[in-house]
């Protein structure tokens, strides 16, 4: 809680709000600006960038690809990470250090190094070489490098929900581990799952290094489209601003849906202390 006189509290809050909102306002104005030259506000306002971007098949395909791969990444991370994480809480704690070590790798290795490594790794064997430079490999790479954000959000909510105690109670009532996961654990950690999925979705939507190196222009995602529109021969920086705002809108809609679903419950994003 912030202490001090009212004017100071309002001033601090307003400064923080301005710091967060100003880039957003600038992007929104830029997406509507006819021309914007060394003035606080654009020279004129137009919807031309919005209409042209929304009618650009390249943009729509890129947005569709990014949305598709992000949704698939969320599904995949739930299928791949939730079961071992659950198992590490209720049955085998030795899984936990392995998961945590894996989660640190993306923070140690730069994205471009990992992307190049992943591409070369699959090329080593005939069976896997067919995956090289494919959207499937991009999806797997995104999940492999972004799963820590999901892991930490869900892990925190599992600790807060005291999943082990729930599992023990449910198992003495005749339920098997899968039934407990489905009927007891998943509903109890709904907020953490939603937060983890949102972070995974956001991370996948914003992935650039992996997409650029693994698939490149053969599977142009939204970030690759934005990059091309910033520097390419058909540069369209106002269109990039439009795409950024739309991307933000998608994430905001996702967050809003989660907030509605978890009315009143706080989102546990970080590991919490277990209940005594």
């Amino acid at each position: 809680m912030l202490d001090g006189p009212l004017w100071l509290r309002i001033g601090v809050l307003a400064s923080v709000a301005l710091y967060g909102v100003l880039p957003l306002i600038a992007t929104a104005l830029y997406s509507l600006a006819t021309v914007w030259r060394r003035k606080p506000l654009p020279d004129g306002i137009t919807l031309a960038w919005w209409t042209s971007t929304l009618q650009d098949p390249g943009f729509l395909w890129a947005l569709g690809r990014s949305l598709g791969i992000s949704v698939l990444a969320v599904i995949l991370v739930n299928l791949l990470i939730l079961p071992p994480l659950y198992w590490s809480h209720v049955a085998n704690r030795r899984i936990r250090p392995v998961l945590e070590a894996c989660a640190l790798i993306p923070f140690v290795l730069p994205g471009v190094v990992m992307a190049a490594g992943i591409n070369r790794f699959v090329a080593l064997w005939t069976l896997t070489s067919r995956l090289e430079a494919t959207p499937g490999l991009l999806l797997m790479a995104i999940v492999a490098t972004s799963f820590p954000v999901y892991l930490w959000a869900v892990d925190g909510s599992m600790r807060a929900a005291n999943v082990l105690a729930l599992w023990e109670a449910a198992s003495t009532q005749g339920a098997g581990s899968w039934r407990i996961l489905r009927r007891v654990v998943v509903p109890s950690i709904g907020t953490g799952l939603a937060a983890g999925s949102l972070l995974m979705f956001a991370s996948a939507m914003g992935e650039l290094a992996l997409a650029r190196i693994i698939t490149g222009s053969s599977f142009e995602t939204l970030t690759l489209w934005q990059l091309r529109k910033l520097h390419g021969t058909d540069a369209d920086p106002n269109g990039v601003a439009v795409a950024s705002l739309l991307s933000l809108f998608v994430l905001f809609a996702f967050s809003f849906a989660i907030a509605i679903r978890n009315r009143g419950r706080s989102v546990q994003m970080a590991p919490a202390a277990g209940k005594g």
């Binding site: 105690a165 023990e168 198992s171 003495t172 009532q173 005749g174 509903p187 109890s188």
Partner: protein, 345 residues
């Protein structure tokens, strides 16, 4: 046939032995309370019976089944936990219905059983409430209904009242006993609270350092404990370290003198319950009240004498006669004195 038979259970956690060669038979329909200080192994024993911990060696039988290697879900037990462990996203009725659903009870039969169980614990009006909308006592009632719902062979209660306030604890303690008698289910009740254990159980088992050192009816264990540890743990006894005299008697000044079944010179411990201490105007040994604590129907006095300190209970209405600093003379009802070897248990 026993409801539960434990044979030679051992369990270690690293270098700590939680259970040591523990054997125990619990009769069908009997409620056995396991009593002991923190870390004595009582909860470990309960978890082994539930299947939540696996003993290093030994056999666990529930009814005529050897369940030692079976997972919790196939053991047919119901368990009540200290922290309730209700499922937070399920209503009271859904919580009670969960074990029925797990064991394949059909819709109508399940609904009837849920209603029956909620009525049994007096919570039929709270069927649609979520755990966070219930008080601690109500939550534990739901947990009890849930544990009993699928008619398990054995009910396990792990410090079920520890998290509740004193009034709720007493009420729910009696309720648990009433319900257990009504359904006639074999039950193991783990607690560190001697009043709770003595009040609810058909038999009380006292545990110390992983061993079951004594089992008996509550009155017998309380009045005539066979082990020194039990005497010290139960009843607030004063434990006086004495030596058997040349006449093979154990005496504490003029307060008491009793025959001892040990040779002269043996170091012994005399256990004296506070209610067996008499305060007289003459005789006994001289002492002085150093502390008086109100306990409802009695006052517990700590009396300092030249030979050591002793606890005595007097009727609450005589409290005015024994203020702190009051001079008293102390004697002990000899039939209530128990003597144990100082080096034994």
């Amino acid at each position: 046939m026993p409801g539960v038979r434990l044979d030679g259970l051992n369990k270690r956690f690293g270098s700590v032995a939680a259970l040591r060669d523990l054997s125990l038979d619990i009769r069908d329909g009997e409620l056995l309370a396991l009593l002991g200080p923190s870390g004595c192994g009582k909860t470990t024993l309960l978890r082994c019976v539930a299947g939540l911990s696996r003993p290093d060696s030994g056999v666990i039988r529930l009814g005529d089944r050897d369940v030692t290697d079976q997972p919790p879900r196939t053991r047919d037990v119901g368990m009540v936990f200290q922290g309730y462990a209700l499922f937070p996203t399920m209503t009271a009725a859904e919580n009670v219905g969960f074990p029925l659903e797990s064991r394949g009870w059909s819709g109508q039969r399940r609904r009837e059983r849920i209603t029956e169980m909620l009525m049994l614990v007096g919570l039929e009006h709270a069927a649609l409430r979520y755990p966070h909308q219930l008080s601690g006592g109500q939550q534990q009632r739901v947990a009890l209904a849930r544990a009993l719902a699928a008619r398990p062979n054995v009910l396990l209660l792990d410090e079920p009242l520890s998290a509740l306030d004193a009034l709720t604890r007493t009420t729910l303690r009696d309720e648990i006993r009433r319900i257990q008698l009504k359904v006639g289910m074999t039950a193991i009740y783990v607690t560190h609270d001697q009043a709770e254990a003595l009040a609810v159980a058909d038999r009380v088992g006292v545990m110390d350092q992983g061993r079951l050192i004594e089992v008996g009816a509550p009155a017998d264990v309380y009045r005539r404990p066979s082990q020194r540890f039990t005497a010290a743990f139960l009843g607030g006894r004063t434990m006086l370290e004495l030596v058997v005299d040349a006449g093979s008697r154990v005496a504490w000044g003029d307060a008491f003198s009793i025959a001892a079944p040990y040779p002269p010179g043996t170091r012994v411990v005399a256990a004296i319950t506070p209610e067996s201490v008499r305060l007289n105007s003459a005789g006994g040994i001289a002492g002085r009240v150093v502390l008086a604590s109100f306990r409802g129907s009695t006052i517990r006095l700590q009396i300092e004498t030249d030979l050591g300190e002793i606890a005595a209970d007097v009727a609450a209405d005589s409290a005015g006669a024994y203020p702190a600093g009051a001079a008293v003379r102390v004697s002990v009802a000899m039939e209530a004195v128990q003597v144990f070897l100082a080096d034994g248990t």
